[in-house]
């Protein structure tokens, strides 16, 4: 069953098997390009979600292309370099905000959906994918547990800077990470980013108890 499915998928997916399709559809790149065209014709803008959201930047395009294989080393290095360049430190040089507000950002899942408005509070929804404090048992597992994040790594200025960078733009450290680029894409404000870093790095934060 599995084998048949794979053969069929191969025949249809064109690339990685024989290279051409029985339907004459062309190369893997051609199928990908057509898929993008079909998507652009299949969506309509709604509320705050306009069609420009379907225009990929280089990181998105490369991470889509290498989604099933992981990008080759040189491509990964290019993605990480380009994204590292997008990280801006906080204007006042202070990485730590208020962990209590950071917890609220971590709990909130709204923002940027077509069912939201410009006025909907935007969250980081960290708990959707990560364990953070022990008290919150409803956490997801797409990302690693961040429980005791600062306690395990040390409450150092270097680690504060690293946490800031990771939340700001995860692709700078791990090309094609699943994690949204909360700073680089303008999802969270500078203050919200600081508050999340405090949740991870403040010794008093429940994450570090």
């Amino acid at each position: 069953m599995h084998k048949t499915l794979f053969a069929a998928a191969c025949a249809a997916a064109l690339a990685g098997c024989a290279g051409t399709s029985p339907s004459g559809g062309g190369s893997d790149a051609a199928v990908r390009a057509k898929a993008v065209d079909v998507m652009k014709a299949s969506f309509k803008e709604r509320g705050i979600a306009k069609l420009d959201r379907l225009i990929q930047d280089e990181t998105q395009a490369l991470c889509s292309q290498y989604a099933t294989t992981a990008p080759p080393k040189d491509v990964a290095a290019r993605i990480e370099k380009a994204n590292m360049a997008l990280i801006k430190p906080p204007a006042d040089g202070q990485y730590l905000g208020d962990w209590k507000r950071g917890e609220q950002v971590a709990q909130r899942g709204t923002g940027f959906q077509y069912s939201d408005t410009e006025k909907t509070p935007v969250g980081g929804n960290c708990y959707a994918c990560h364990q953070l404090s022990k008290q919150e048992i409803s956490y997801g597992t797409i990302g690693p547990s961040l429980y005791n994040f600062g306690k395990l790594r040390g409450f150092t200025p270097e680690m504060q800077k690293y946490a800031w960078g990771k939340v700001y733009n995860a692709h700078a450290y791990a090309a094609c990470s699943n994690m949204p680029r909360f700073g680089a894409q303008g999802i969270l404000s500078e203050q919200q980013l600081k508050d999340v870093v405090a949740l991870l790095m403040d010794p008093k934060s429940p994450v570090n108890q």
């Binding site: 069953m1 599995h2 499915l5 069929a8 998928a9 025949a11 249809a12 997916a13 064109l14 399709s21 029985p22 339907s23 004459g24 559809g25 199928v31 990908r32 057509k34 898929a35 993008v36 079909v38 998507m39 014709a41 299949s42 969506f43 309509k44 803008e45 709604r46 979600a49 306009k50 069609l51 959201r53 379907l54 225009i55 990929q56 990181t59 998105q60 991470c63 889509s64 989604a67 099933t68 940027f112 959906q113 077509y114 708990y127 959707a128 994918c129 022990k134 008290q135 048992i137 409803s138 956490y139 997801g140 597992t141 797409i142 699943n178 949204p180 680029r181 894409q185 303008g186 999802i187």
Partner: protein
């Protein structure tokens, strides 16, 4: 939001207080029990009955029923048809999923305009019921217990599958999400919600054969087109157009990956 509230209620009902790991395990077990209990009576039957009536009753400018509609197994054959969709239809020269085919039949047989046949694709309360939801409930219920057997023979079927696969991995929007962000790994979850790995037969089978579903938290029967649409909302994409080629391509990819599994829907979900 409603989901969170529901889970919070469940956790409270289960008498769970913060004793982390064990509590998380207990919570998952309680939610599983709740899901099992739901299967006893499924309001989807109300949609199925209304859909059967819509299928059999003469309607539209031509005052004919849909009983001559060819869902792929011949005019009027409903039994088992959904388990072999999407597929290529020569009369439309297009690969169609069920919802696209129903729109086609309501236009070509009953004489409805596209606008009439696609209005209210998803239900929104008792005063805004969706004929599409009801027809889908009726047709899909007639495949209950049938093994998924989606064809991949015609070149256009192969092309749709290949396009759907690429779309599954397409990352975009302010959050850089694709379908694969949540549905390409084993044993992951969002909050306490388990996520099926749709790139493997077991995950695709489990997920695809469970839709449409009556959603308790919404009081509505939700179709597969609705499910795709709502995934894209959470991906922060614009709105996936009803019966668009992207919706058909993704459905082709997922339905074909579910081949071999017994179709179980309409189900009932939290």
């Amino acid at each position: 939001m409603r989901t969170r509230a529901l889970y919070a209620g469940l956790l409270a009902a289960a008498g769970i207080v913060a004793a982390p790991q064990a509590a998380a395990q207990d919570a998952v077990k309680e939610i599983e029990k709740y899901r099992e209990a739901l299967q006893d009576g499924n309001p989807a039957e109300l949609w199925e009955a209304r859909g059967e009536d819509l299928w059999k009753r003469p309607a539209g400018p031509r005052k004919v029923s849909l009983e001559k509609c060819d869902l792929g197994l011949g005019p009027g054959v409903v039994k088992g048809a959904y388990a072999q969709l999407p597929r290529y239809f020569a009369d439309a020269d297009r690969v169609m999923d069920l919802e696209t085919r129903l729109v086609h039949c309501r236009m070509t047989l009953q004489g409805l305009t596209r606008e009439e046949a696609t209005k209210q694709p998803f239900g929104a309360g008792t005063d805004r019921k969706s004929d599409n939801d009801a027809l889908v409930a009726y047709v899909t219920a007639e495949s209950k217990g049938v093994k998924m057997n989606v064809p991949l023979a015609h070149p256009k079927e192969k092309e749709m599958y290949a396009l759907g696969e690429k779309m599954f991995y397409f990352r975009g929007g302010p959050y850089d999400f694709s379908c694969a962000t949540c549905h390409a790994a084993d044993n992951t979850r969002i909050r306490l919600q388990d996520l099926p790995n749709l790139t493997k037969p077991a995950g695709a089978q489990l997920a695809y054969t469970g839709w449409p579903a009556y959603r308790v938290s919404q009081g509505e029967l939700r179709t597969f087109q609705w499910r795709l649409n709502d995934c894209f909302r959470q991906q922060r994409f614009p709105e996936l157009a009803f019966t668009s080629d992207a919706s058909i391509a993704l459905t082709s990819f997922l339905a074909r990956n579910a081949n071999g599994a017994e179709f179980k829907a309409p189900t009932i979900k939290r």
